[in-house]
Amino acid sequence: MTELPTIIKIKRIVDEAEDVKTFFFDYKIDFEPGQFFILWIPGLDEKPFAISHQNKEEIGMTIHKVGEFTKKLFLMKKGDKIGIRGPYGKGFSIKKSKSCVVGGGVGVAELSILINKLKDPVIINGARSKNNLVFLDRFKAHITTDDGSLGEKGFTTDVFSKLLETEKFDVVYTCGPEIMMKKIFEICEKHNIELQVSMERYMSCGFGVCGKCMCNDQIVCKDGPVFDSKKLRKMSEFGESARLRTGKKATLKEYYGK
């Protein structure tokens, strides 16, 4: 068993939205939708990301510029070398039933390989503002923005609730801000609908030994990052708290403000 980065080259870079780009690499790899990979900028640091595009010859990762690592990544150019390892964790369990996919912000990118494998899912694509929406041309979706600059004004949770008045879903998949996912969970519980969420935590090793990504007794990088309703019901920290890099328990507000 070996966990070492493989060096790949950036093939092309596509602008997707404000501070969001897709990086394409010549790299063939099998994985389940919802599993994640860890990118290494040699000498700088590593961070986990999901694959958002895959065809015979290449993969793409759609990445939001949020910190030091992604800032450096956004300065890289075609031909530059980067390390990749993975896939890690447990992905989505694909059901042959009527599904709804709820993506918040760049969370939509994490769901896109899943969407390609689902049969006619209903998609909700939401973001803060028009400039933050991704994949408007790629998927036919209910669009919503917090400020109403495109689509319905409001949150993905509002659109989801309204959809439930007229439609029935057997399973819901979601990825986005945890506060949003928690609300989707509450709505699904009320309507007795199975939910699968893709959770984000501070992950270092990616293979379940360093213990930094715990959410209650779940090792998010290994038991997750996708968790279903049955597990979520036992995870009191979901939507409430997360561990900082030191292991300190923090509110989500403190965690995201890190």
């Binding site: 070996t2 640091d45 390390g83 379940g208 090792i219 030191t246």
Partner: protein
């Protein structure tokens, strides 16, 4: 059949979660206990919070793992809240403490005065963190004696001193710990440090450049260390280093250990490796007509 003891601590079985694997949170310790560990050790806690080294902090290649986590931990203030009400857990919990001076070890210990640890483990042997362990010279017989004495004076809890395999003086170091009042020895910490270079980018892979080596590749060295220490001290030994299967655990006991540390094996065989090792030990013991762990401890010295 698998019951054993370290000093006055009774263990249902000899597998102990080694410090540094999981162990950041109380819930993760609980999960390891549910998966069969006879005892668990927390991640090492320092006086102040530490972010640790930049990533990658851990890599593996075949039969070894290299890590340079850099003792990331929330500091004793937060950790004492995290590891509260440990009696709820169904196995003994060992608190691992680190410091840069003897006084600082004692301060961390005192920060845990209200926690229900069954023992205190003191690694004087971390090979990848400036200011601590072997990088600060804590692994010499003199430093070991000084630090162990200071902690001994400050607690009545069983005291386990964790040693580095990187010394010619291992028996002397173990003896120094015993003379200073240690109740047990944990041998060994990770070896090295070692280095893994990515030749395509001409850079070391680990963020810190170098890291301690663990996993099956470390096992023969750990077994030899336990063998040597068993001859030089009378206090019990926790044999740690590459224990992955039941047979490895039995080998470690025969070399002189009373219990075994299990860490990197969580990577090779998942978190239920504790139960797997215990089941494998039991069936080997039955096949070979052993009924008690005591019959195995130090058997190779007979």
């Amino acid at each position: 059949m698998l019951k054993t003891r370290i000093s006055k601590i009774e263990l249902d079985n000899p597998t102990i979660l080694a410090s540094g694997i999981l162990g950041v949170t109380k819930d993760s310790l609980k999960r390891v206990i549910q998966n069969g560990a006879g005892a668990v050790t927390t991640k090492s806690i320092s006086k102040e919070p530490r972010k640790g080294h930049k990533s990658p902090i851990i890599l593996t290649e075949g039969d070894f793992m290299l890590n340079a986590v850099g003792i990331s931990n929330p500091g004793v203030g937060e950790a004492s809240k995290e590891f509260s009400a440990l009696k709820e857990l169904k196995a003994p919990v060992f608190g691992s403490i680190v410091g840069t001076t003897p006084e600082e070890f004692v301060e961390v210990l005192q920060g845990f005065s209200k926690n229900d640890f069954s023992a205190i483990e003191v690694p004087l042997s971390c090979p990848h963190t400036p200011g601590y362990g072997t990088m600060a010279g804590q692994g010499t017989p003199e430093a070991t004696h000084k630090i162990t004495s200071a902690i001994r004076d400050a607690t009545k809890l069983p005291l386990i001193i964790k040693l580095s395999p990187n010394t010619q003086d291992l028996s002397k170091v173990a003896k120094a710990a015993e003379e200073a009042g240690a109740d047990a020895i944990c041998a060994v910490n990770s070896l090295g440090p070692g280095m893994k270079i990515n030749i395509d980018v001409k850079k070391p892979v680990l963020g810190f450049g170098v890291g301690g080596l663990t996993g099956p590749a470390l096992r023969p060295i750990a077994v030899r260390c336990v063998f040597d220490i068993y001859k030089s001290v009378d206090i019990p030994i926790i044999g740690t280093g590459g224990v992955t299967y039941g047979r490895d655990a039995i080998e470690m006991l025969m070399a002189g250990a009373s219990a075994v540390g299990v860490g990197t094996a969580v990577y090779y065989r998942e978190v239920n490796v504790f139960k797997k090792i215990c089941d494998e030990m039991e069936s080997w013991m039955k096949e070979n007509n052993y009924t008690k762990i005591e019959q195995l401890i130090g058997a190779v010295h007979d």
